[in-house]
């Protein structure tokens, strides 16, 4: 069927499907680069910290250079996140934008609270380096795990649940294994979770 516009019904359906796909690709926040960036932060950051403590006969805590590496990789991952989300959501206004803003705020609020809790636990334990090491490594992982799992519940993205579940396993196992072996566990399980989530996200996009 064709008419004065020259648009057949076949062409119209194809155009409709293509337009909806193109719009979703333009507007939806792509998960793969975000999971990828944070996976690199996770592997590189926790990897550097683990390298700096793995040979300590008496645990004294991570070296300053390793924390600096983690900080730089964290800043880069944050920058990637800001650019990717900013590009996708530019010009989109309404409930989705507000939900995105609250989601973005959930991260600093949760991490700030997590740091206060970590300081409190460390103080209560007399500031023992092992205790500080375990709490400061696993508590942020648990915060991320909870936020990702809630994200999956709200938006239905299975990749978020995979990443969240992996980080929950990483955090709980890391706490049981102690400040040195626990870091290696956190690094391996967490990075695997991020990689799996990135692959899933790329495939479903």
């Amino acid at each position: 069927m064709s008419d004065a516009t020259g648009l057949t019904a076949h062409a119209a359906r194809a155009l409709l499907d293509d337009s909806e796909d193109a719009a979703r690709r333009a507007i939806d926040v792509p998960g793969a680069p975000l999971f990828g960036a944070w996976g690199v932060f996770w592997a590189g950051g926790y990897g550097a910290v683990w390298l700096s403590v793995r040979d300590q006969v008496v645990y004294t805590g991570p070296a300053g250079w390793s924390l600096a590496v983690m900080g730089v990789l964290g800043a880069l991952a944050l920058a990637v996140t800001a650019v990717v989300i900013g590009r996708a959501t530019r010009g989109v206004w309404g409930p989705s934008a507000r939900a995105g803003m609250f989601y973005g705020l959930a991260w600093p609020v949760s991490f700030a609270a997590g740091q206060v809790v970590a300081v409190g636990i460390a103080r209560a334990g007399g500031g023992a380096p092992e205790l500080v090491g375990v709490v400061s490594a696993t508590l942020p992982a648990l915060v991320v795990a909870v936020i990702y799992c809630v994200s999956a519940a709200v938006w239905g993205g299975a990749e978020f649940f995979v990443a969240g579940a992996a980080l929950a396993v990483a955090a709980s196992g890391g706490a049981l294994l102690g400040p040195v072996d626990g870091l290696l566990w956190l690094l391996l399980v967490g990075a695997t979770g991020f990689a799996a989530a990135a692959v899933m996200s790329a495939r479903t996009r």
Binding site: L7, H10, A22, I27, G91, V92, G94
Partner: protein, 106 residues
């Protein structure tokens, strides 16, 4: 089940939507979440249409009640947002059903 070709002749595609540019506009706005709107410049960027062309088609869709265009601010700070109305969403659903009725016949 066979379909009488005379029934197909009765299936009409909404002429407001059934042009390439307006079909793309409606499909793009339909991809937004409920209650969301899209800036004019972003919509133009996604569709790759000229501003004049987009304004012309948006006006036609607005007249039909399918699209809501809201303008705010003045001068350099002026901005327009576009969103599909409930009437527009319903029209797209009907359009999609009409397409299916035409195309999905044995």
């Amino acid at each position: 089940m066979s379909v009488d070709p005379r029934d197909l002749a009765d299936v009409e595609l909404d002429p407001v939507i059934h042009t390439p540019a307006r079909l793309r506009i409606v499909a793009t706005l339909n991809s937004l979440g409920p209650g969301d709107s899209l800036s004019f410049t972003r919509l133009q960027g996604i569709l790759g249409l000229t501003a004049g062309n987009l304004i012309t088609h948006l006006r036609r869709l607005e007249e039909a009640g399918y699209v809501r265009v809201e303008r705010s601010g003045e001068g350099r700070s002026a901005r327009s947002s576009t969103a599909l109305t409930d009437v527009g969403r319903a029209a797209l659903t009907t359009y999609r059903r009409s397409l299916a009725a035409i195309l999905d016949q044995p």
